[in-house]
């Protein structure tokens, strides 16, 4: 329960000189100051590894800082007794990227669930009235009686925010909240956040998307390498300046020179492809597409509309029920080795699951996909460890992967460095087609830029790239042509469509 105060607090949270090091002399946080006023949306901006995660874990009571002080609602916090439960009691509510709601329960049930005041018994009507009052008070529109699993992501997120508010949160922390939303849902979220701000709640909005920060934040604090490099009013800074503050250098805009249409045979052609899906909505229905050499074709869509299934078919691990996949004009059996041999490479954003093995070393990951046919590393059934190490070290040095140690396990690399290794490996055989699926998911701006530059370099040198991504900005920035994947079928996106128009197509609202 929030503490009743006679006058409203000026600051929802103030952190002063917060430091944390997991290893001596390697601080993850180094004297960070963060001041969040009551009634403001405060963006926390920073690359992966900048310390955002650690800072927020300290604020929600999961970690204890080595030095520094915290006050909440102008009252100091005893850090020795600051547990997650105490943080909730003091009005901090965390809204996670991945929903912490129980999917099979209704919104009302979820709101009552785990509420300390509810007592031992569940009173359906009382719980429903409480939920109604809460939703009305903060003007958050949620279908209270539907199960969470039936809600769209945007509504699910509103339910999650409601739950935090229902527990008395006066400071909401949202962790990359737009990563699962369509552009329209993101707009609605921003409107909700503004409403909360006007109701006197404070919001910490974690993001690495500069445009969102500009759109919604009142103030911005930028973290770089464990230090708060700046804290400024959002109106003072433009995206470019924020990017410089975040990275410590200028990020020039991507350049994508115009393409001369190719007359050669298509690099990749898919005809009448159908494949079973994880859900009815993600079953692939009659996919037809053509990808030319020197072209980037963007396939945009919301998660769960068949992206994963299409990726798996093109990687050879999901059997299509019907249809052909042709690489360089030849029909290829959709098996992993056959597709790879035909010149189709696969770069996954699901690095841990589909691309790399985190317990394996750099060298072992470098040779992972060649264990059946790569004579450089596997001969007569034996593994040439020296050759694998040499090749991995060379690649690591060429692409600036840290550490450039072929015997280091992937688990010891940052996400950006791991993805660099995956990119280097996939491009190593000079494939004619690269299927890149959410290639920058979870990466910091610098690493994402590296991946984008590599994709554009492929295109320049005549390679074809199929970019399947849920990140609309990424698809818009890189693609020569865009098509949408909606409920397992491709939907045309007219050239020159803007974000709003594409958003409508993704929601299936475009005029048929």
């Amino acid at each position: 329960m929030p503490q009743a105060t006679s006058r409203p607090a000026a600051y929802a949270a103030r952190l002063h000189g917060v430091s944390k090091a997991f290893v001596p002399r390697r601080p993850v946080l180094d004297g960070v100051d963060l001041a969040v006023r009551a009634g403001e949306i405060h963006a926390l901006l920073g690359e992966n590894g900048a310390g955002k995660s650690t800072l927020m874990k300290i604020l929600v009571g999961l970690l204890r800082p080595d030095a520094g002080s915290i006050s909440l609602a102008d009252a100091p916090v005893d850090l020795d007794r600051f547990t997650p439960a105490e943080a909730v009691r003091r009005g901090i509510g965390m809204v996670h990227q991945v929903s912490a709601l129980v999917p099979a329960m209704t919104v009302v049930e979820n709101l009552a669930f785990g509420d300390a005041r509810a007592g031992l018994w569940f009173h359906p009507r009382r719980a429903r009235r409480a939920a109604e009052r809460l939703a009305a008070r903060f003007q958050l529109e949620v279908s209270l009686d539907r199960r969470v699993e039936d809600l769209a992501m945007g509504e699910r997120q509103r339910a999650e925010i409601l739950r935090a508010l229902g527990r008395g949160a006066r400071l909401l922390i949202l962790d990359e909240p737009t990563s699962v939303l369509t552009p329209r849902e993101a707009e609605a979220l921003f409107a909700s956040l503004r409403g909360l701000r006007d109701a006197g709640r404070a919001v910490i909005f974690i993001s690495h998307k500069l445009s969102e920060v500009e759109a919604v934040a009142d103030r911005v604090t930028i973290l770089r390498q464990g230090k708060a490099t700046a804290s400024l009013s959002a109106r003072e800074a433009d995206a470019r300046e924020l990017g410089r503050l975040m990275l410590g250098r200028d990020v020039p805009p991507l350049e994508r020179p115009a393409r001369t249409p190719s007359v050669a045979a298509p690099a990749l052609e898919i005809r009448g492809l159908c494949a079973p899906g994880l859900s009815e909505a993600s079953r692939l229905r009659e996919i037809d597409l053509r990808l030319d050499p020197g072209e980037i074709l963007g396939i945009v869509g919301i998660d769960g509309n068949g992206q994963r299934e299409l990726e798996e078919v093109l990687a050879g691990v999901r059997r299509p029920t019907r249809g052909d996949v042709c690489v360089g004009g030849r029909r290829i059996a959709p098996r992993p080795r056959a597709l790879r041999a035909a010149g189709l490479a696969h770069l996954s954003g699901d690095r841990d699951g589909a691309g790399l093995i985190s317990a394996f070393t750099l060298a072992e990951n470098w040779i992972l996909k060649g264990s059946h046919d790569d004579r450089r590393f596997f001969r007569r059934g034996w593994l040439d460890r020296a050759a694998a190490r040499r090749a991995a070290r060379a690649a690591a040095e060429r692409f600036g992967i840290v550490p450039a140690d072929p015997d280091a396990p992937i688990a010891s690399l940052s996400g950006g460095n791991a993805q660099k290794l995956a990119v280097a490996r996939e491009l190593d055989g000079d494939p004619s087609v690269l299927v890149a699926v959410n290639p920058t998911r979870g990466l910091d701006v610098g690493s994402a830029r590296f991946v984008h530059d590599e994709l554009l370099a492929r295109r320049r040198s005549g390679g074809a790239v199929l970019l399947i991504s849920t990140d609309l900005d990424e698809v818009l920035a890189l693609s020569d042509r865009i098509t949408a994947l909606v409920r397992g079928a491709l939907a045309a996106v007219p050239p020159g469509s803007d974000r709003a128009a594409i958003g409508a197509i993704l929601l299936g609202e475009a005029a048929a």
Binding site: V98, R335, F360, R385, G442
Partner: protein
């Protein structure tokens, strides 16, 4: 670690936690023994004398270690591939059964040079077959191998019982045991030490090469760490799970053949004192490294060999040795979790999804 390079320093570092686990378990059991009113010093002395104190004691230790080495390798190989094979016991029993059947029923009068290889191969094949049954169920029907291998252990126990009460029962028909194996079917031996021990040692080196130097080993480790990533790399987790269960079954079946053809000379119902279950402890203490299974098997072999002496000389019940076994496993698994690997110390593990 699955690093391609494993220098001497890494070997020493990897040896620390298991050693601590062994010492810790002995100390804890010592305290327990003292609380029960026995003299822990005398118990330990008796244990050591019974396992390492004389030529005969060493022989007993090595004879106990031999099947533990083979079944330990079987378990280590399976676990490396992410296959939780609890069936080494059953695979050993079926191996012993098939070896006995070949030796006493199929080839009693065959040329001497043929008999022993046939008996040994029959044991390996029998174990491999029952392992492959679990592998096939797993690969085609998705049956969890923990369940299937445990249940197949019971099948194997009953198969042996059926055989020694029926088709394989001795000609005299007095006891539920098989005829004695003909001399040609027995392993060559020095004193009581049979040649199977040398084969087991050679197989430890072979398994080490298979796991860390061969393409097949590379693939099965890939499957063990990340089946989905392995599938994307063109490696079928089902195929390798099946293969590894067959290979492990072969190793355990060999252990069974060596028991009848090297130690007992006959098949009877309780031929295995839970060797296939102790094998899990052997493999875990060795941290699934085939070469480390050698010292691990020796340790557990010594424990079994010394337990009898401990009961005779110090009056401490032999089951105390089983407590040591259990505690060693708990401590070694606990220590390996508690000790962060070198690389992990540098940074907190990245949350799967979360802030950042």
């Amino acid at each position: 670690m699955s690093s391609l390079a494993r220098g001497p320093a890494a070997l020493v570092r990897d040896a620390v936690p298991p050693t601590l686990a062994v010492l810790g378990a002995l100390a804890l059991v010592g305290v327990f023994v003292a609380l029960l009113g026995y003299a822990p010093g005398r118990a330990l002395t008796a244990l050591l004398r019974g396992s390492l104190g004389s030529g005969a004691a060493w022989t007993a230790t090595l004879l106990k270690a031999s099947p533990l080495l083979l079944t330990g390798l079987a378990v280590a190989l399976s676990f490396r591939c992410g296959v939780w094979n609890i069936g080494a016991e059953g695979q050993l029993l079926v191996g012993a059964l098939c070896a006995t059947a070949v030796a006493t029923r199929t080839l009693p009068g065959a040329p001497a040079a043929l008999v022993l290889p046939a008996v040994v191969l029959a044991g390996a094949a029998g174990g491999a077959l029952i392992g492959a049954v679990a592998g096939a169920l797993r690969a085609t029907r998705g049956v969890n191998e923990v369940i299937s291998t445990i249940l197949l252990n019971f099948v194997a126990i009953q198969l042996v019982a059926l055989a020694v009460h029926g088709p394989l029962q001795e000609a005299a028909g007095a006891y539920p045991k098989s005829d004695a194996l003909p001399a040609a079917a027995m392993l060559p031996a020095i004193g009581r030490l049979h040649g199977g021990l040398a084969v087991a040692l050679a197989l430890a080196f072979a398994t080490q090469l298979l796991v860390f130097r061969s393409a097949i080993g590379f693939r099965l480790r890939a499957v063990g760490h990340a089946p989905r990533a392995a599938r994307f790399a063109g490696i079928s987790p089902e195929l390798y799970g099946w293969l590894v269960l067959a290979l492990a079954g072969g190793l355990a079946g060999l252990a069974g053949a060596f028991e009848v053809a090297g130690v007992t000379g006959t098949l009877y119902e309780r031929i295995s004192p839970g060797t296939g279950y102790t094998a899990i402890a052997v493999a875990l203490l060795a941290r699934l490294h085939p070469l480390s299974v050698i010292p691990s098997a020796l340790f557990f072999g010594a424990l079994e060999a010394g337990a009898g002496a401990m009961q005779r000389e110090a009056g401490v019940p032999a089951v105390v040795a089983q407590m040591v076994q259990g505690l060693v496993v708990l401590l070694s698994v606990g220590l390996s979790v508690a000790r962060p690997p070198r690389a992990r110390g540098l940074r907190t593990p990245e949350p799967k999804r979360g802030i950042d």
